[in-house]
Symmetry: C2
Subunit: 379 residues, 2 copies
Amino acid sequence: MQDSSFIGIVAPHTAHFPQALTLKSGEVLPEFDIVYETYGTLNSTKSNAVLICHALSGNHHAAGKHHENDKHPGWWDNLIGPGKPLDTNKFFVIALNNLGGCHGSTGPASINAATGKPWGSKFPMVTVEDWVSSQAMLLDQLGIQQLAAVVGGSLGGMQAMQWTLDYPDRVRHALVIASAPNLTAQNLAFNEVARQAIMTDPEFYNGDYYEYQAIPNRGLRIARMLGHITYLSDDAMGAKFGRKLRDGSLKYNFEVEFEMESYLRYQGDKFATAFDANSYLRMTKALDYFDPAFPHHGDLSLALAKAKADFLVVSFTSDWRFSPARSREIVKALLDNELSVSYAEVTAAHGHDAFLMPDPHYHQILRAYLANIDTGASA
Amino acid sequence: MQDSSFIGIVAPHTAHFPQALTLKSGEVLPEFDIVYETYGTLNSTKSNAVLICHALSGNHHAAGKHHENDKHPGWWDNLIGPGKPLDTNKFFVIALNNLGGCHGSTGPASINAATGKPWGSKFPMVTVEDWVSSQAMLLDQLGIQQLAAVVGGSLGGMQAMQWTLDYPDRVRHALVIASAPNLTAQNLAFNEVARQAIMTDPEFYNGDYYEYQAIPNRGLRIARMLGHITYLSDDAMGAKFGRKLRDGSLKYNFEVEFEMESYLRYQGDKFATAFDANSYLRMTKALDYFDPAFPHHGDLSLALAKAKADFLVVSFTSDWRFSPARSREIVKALLDNELSVSYAEVTAAHGHDAFLMPDPHYHQILRAYLANIDTGASA
């Protein structure tokens, strides 16, 4: 029996952009594809569009299933659907795969038309600003002038913030969830270890492993295991795994002794076969580079002065990757600019991952905020 | 001009143990060597001996220099010397390299007499309990029946705790610094990622890399970079590195952009050429296994009931690897047993590494505690 709030079977679309995109680095992407999905119906005044921006390893498949036998729905399916907090009876939701990704949008594994070979190491660095530019080009192609809202968690929240700065007239609401105005030194450090694990994998071939029929999956596996530690809180890990032994007694060897080890190995193995290492590298770099206050000598209030949108900022108490203190920095800077900002610090045990979970309090906050967004009479 | 509190030039000694040592795993080490250094003079009643237990990557060279041109003194030189908190005018200090290490004591890189080849993958798992047993054998050989104190930070603190349980009559004081009664799930997780980085390095050869003239230094480098993140606090990293750029402007490539990255790469490179991967693996496993409450169904108070020593427990506010809360668990369990325990929670920014630093408040606490230890009239 199908849940009536389930969006159902969805299919991705591909938008081709024949025009060149000059990136923040100065490099030029001569042409590109963006893969996206939509949920709900665009209203006649095109005033009900909501853009979903994905995080590090996310993609365009945010809700629904691709076919009846799909084991898992999209990554934010608990949020998006008819009657769900992001209600597809009201909103036309767009989710896309960012440039540099590995789920259909142009990325390092794509064929570079100029050489006939995969881009590999030659694929340019992409930034949050570049993603926002390309997302705006997608909206142009869809004929959508203004978003009712842009929504993102973690790295996705950074894109939501950037939208309000680069296209202040094209976005009415920004939902910035479990995010930060930039990475701390510790955040940078974790990313660097992840990248070094990948880049020193002998199968990496300086990023051109496709040509060698090689995959640096050892390095990617380590990177993902490490990532998982930072997504969960110490308490959540303690509650879920603690020091539970896999087989009831100690073996005194290097096989799995603790459930914790088993979980990490499983997560690492699964990811290493499903994600492209070059994409992972670039996603972590986009995180590193995001820092809207940088051109303003660290003054975030000055940096956010261009924004016009209303904001909902949400953080989670146990998130030590992007702690509530980082969200409060954003809130403070928005208030300095006399913008309309709602802030919720949700008590949640799951750490950074909480933004993906259907915590009732968290979902109520999103539901209430989104319900109040005006999409015009023809919604 | 030499500082009068500097211990001066020191030389290591090697103690050989021809007798077999049955380890906690049930495996037997048929014979072994322990490398150690001593500082100060053993008094006539042999009542002034202090044992230093080292942490993950430590060794027997705790103080002084090996020759005049040594760039760096021993790892705890700021603590040990004439007139220093651990005063060698009063105490006879013994520091050793633990079994399984790579600085002279028998370890995975040592030759196994039975095969004529390095132990490699065949070197047995060593535990905190095994180290304490072998340390007691070294004291036997030195004719020392009872320690005035056993001192250790981090993994070294676990050994100090274990001493009071396995040899309650052989230790009068235990100084347990920046330690914990066991590892949390998050601690276990970090160790597992470090080990997987080493063990999936193609140069690891299942631990028998010595025979292949190979070194899994890529994996060991990643493990150490990761370790460094957990040794420092987020705040300390922020204060030291923040988001400082290496070259003043962004390069948009995978070279070092941030000072933070440069620091981690340097630390990783340095360690990977100086430490043995098999030793690192075993040190992390010893950490994982330490859990005196385990045979008592998690009841630490019951576990510590055998202890008779007086305790000084020290934690550091910014230590998120072994947080003050973990030290308080130890203090609580000691108090439950009506033992004499002093506890200091030192306000320090450096994170776990603070136990190695000459913080004045921290050193005053150690100095005061150690000054009060009675070593008899002949000291």
